[in-house]
Amino acid sequence: MDFSAVSAAASEALTLASFIGIGGGVLLGYIVGVIPGLSRSVAIAIAIPMTFYMSPFIAISFLIGLSKGTAAGSAVSAILLNAPGEASSAATALDGYPMAKQGKPKTALQIGLIASVMGDILATIILIFVAIPFARVALLFGPYEMAAILAFALVFIAGLSGGSIFKGLAAGGLGIFLGTIGLDNQTGLPRLTFGYTELMDGMPLIAVAIGTLALSEMFVQSEKLRYDRENMSVAMKKDSSDRITWPIFRRILPTILRGTGVGTFVGALPGLGPSVGSFMSYGMAQKAAKNPEAFGKGEPKGIAASESADNAVIPAALIPLFGLGIPGNVSAALLIGAFAIHGITVGPLLLRDNPELLYSIFAGMILASVIMLALGWFGLMFFAQITRVPPHVVIPIVIFFCLAGMMLQGYGTFGLIILMAFAALGYLMKKYDYSFVTFLVAFIITPMLELNLRQSIILSRGNWEVLLGRPIAMIFIACTVVALVALIIRTFRKEQPLANAPAD
């Protein structure tokens, strides 16, 4: 490790500007996390335009801080409202809400917070120690390997995100189709731009992301508004015995460590996301417990298992991102866009060419965890109040940010029209249960896949035998085939999907 770069990174991470940027990100994320219905990827999609005028380091740390904040904040509404702020905190509500009902809301919130922060810090440290050697090896990954991995990621994500293979194919196919719009890489000829110069660089990612993720979600929410107006938040009372104690902490510590391990493993694999991580961790904690029947009735270990895994997924998802430039989930894919806006190509060369930036981001991530602990601990009462903000106040504000974010992109009216079109598309996909995660990931991966595939075909001069000298590519091609076959078998057996991985 390059120590001069590390110390330079630490000094950059400890400036006032970065404190404000990262702290602001965590705070914003916390608030977004607390509000049910506002999810992480929605927040990132809306926040990317806000980072235009930040330095690359602050911009990326701000967005990562935002992700971390949402993961911690979502526990608050899961515990107090029984309505998780993120799908990934649904497992937290299983034990958190009963515990709050039993008159221990503050203890439950503190357990959630400590599990979140510990999962977060530990996974960030794992990221730092894995990403650096990984990025060194990753230079061995040429176009053949990249094409194979991208194809695998595409199939894998499609398989995990939805029930029916046909709906998955439809959503993924639409994403692939939209991903091919723009100037051809090699000839420079426009494809499907219909004379619009705005489409030469492809469908604007921000419009597609804000539209299908954020704006459409607001449509869905405002529709729900007509049906449920109930808001039954558990009130916090002054009760000095309602707090986390050393014995409780000692009891949940092994669960937190296990949850962190599960979350890190799940996060590093493309396509699985925090919901899979938190439920998997919850299930494992229950299996390992001496009193499995206590789970679901206010068992502190349940909260700890879910929250530690939920938060550990976020740094872990950056392992394939920083190592290979391949996004593991929608949030990571949006981060690629954010890097690109700041003129940085994410991939194996990032560590070599911009070590200070990468180390600064790592330092910023640790800082974000610490800020998260402080904010969560001292702001507990404040965040608990946010669960009482009614959706009819939240929705218009979010819609405003969606539109303002698009205007900042400089596409003018054209951008707003595209945004609206994708909001309508996203709304319909959510209504009729087509996976918009598959759609978005396919849209984002397609240009990379196309480029690497074309490079491979040209460089091999059409000779298949080249692959024999490329074991990594062969492995991933085999995995892709296996995943495809499994997906087809599953559909025809009409089994339940392995897991539902919503937007994360």
Binding site: P190, D201, T345, G410, Y411, Q455, L459, R461
Partner: protein
Amino acid sequence: MKRRSILTAGAALCALLAASAALAEGWKPERPMTMVIGFAAGGSTDIQGRVLARTLEEHFGQPVNVVNQPGGGGAVALTRFLNAAPDGHTFMFGVQLGLTFSPVVTETEYDIDDFRYAGTLVGGQFGLVAAGDAPFQSFDELIAHGQENPMTYAQQLPMDQAIMQQIAAMEGIDLAIVPTGGGGGMAPLLLGGEVDFAFSGGTHAQYTPTGEMNVLAFLTRERSPFYPDVPTLAELGYPYAMDDFRSFFLPGGTPDEIVQAFEEAARFAVGHEPFVEVTVDNTLHPIVFMDAAETEATIREIRAANEALMAN
């Protein structure tokens, strides 16, 4: 009443003085100005442009707002710019490729005659690069190597692809050409040993100091001030050139005095320390000044060369 007439006379005199001063100094902006940049925030054009905006504020005495209109390598911004008022308050810090290259390969709504050109500030440094450990260290050695072995080349634009195809045909090289999608994609291919040599729009500046990359030849018409020993293709006897400059673009129909004012502004900027520093040190581009007439002539010349190249 006498006093008033003196006052009036004084005011008239002031107005007269002001008018003559304005005549002497030429056109002056009356309100905040807008500088359009055809690339996203954070790219080299944007970084240079934002410092340039501060420089122009100093020169013109009016705030300069920067507006990014990314897309199509500047084509989106140029299309929008067709509707800008020709009063000098909206101008573009533009990359010439949008005029010399885009209209050749695709249909655009604008063309060279739709705008006016008021001075060039920054030059490009298109080159052909190889990895530092490649079996050839110069362009001649590359040709010799290529006549014995099949070779691979990473392109970035149809122009450089056309040039390399023609050179390969001329020299009898079996050349496979792959797309890279930009400098960020080129570096891993070249450093990972997947391709033998590549086009570089400026990415090489990061890698040449460590010896990981060598510039074999420049595609520009003149040698780069940063690599005085590297020849241009033309010097090596190949009649091709690819150049790119960054200049002030103004809407068509802009009066001559405004064009002149921007030519002066360009002259001021290329001597202004902060702008020179960010261009040379931060974005590794050479400062190249051309006046309005030379800028327009260069754009037309490069465009004609590109059309001839692509017609083959």
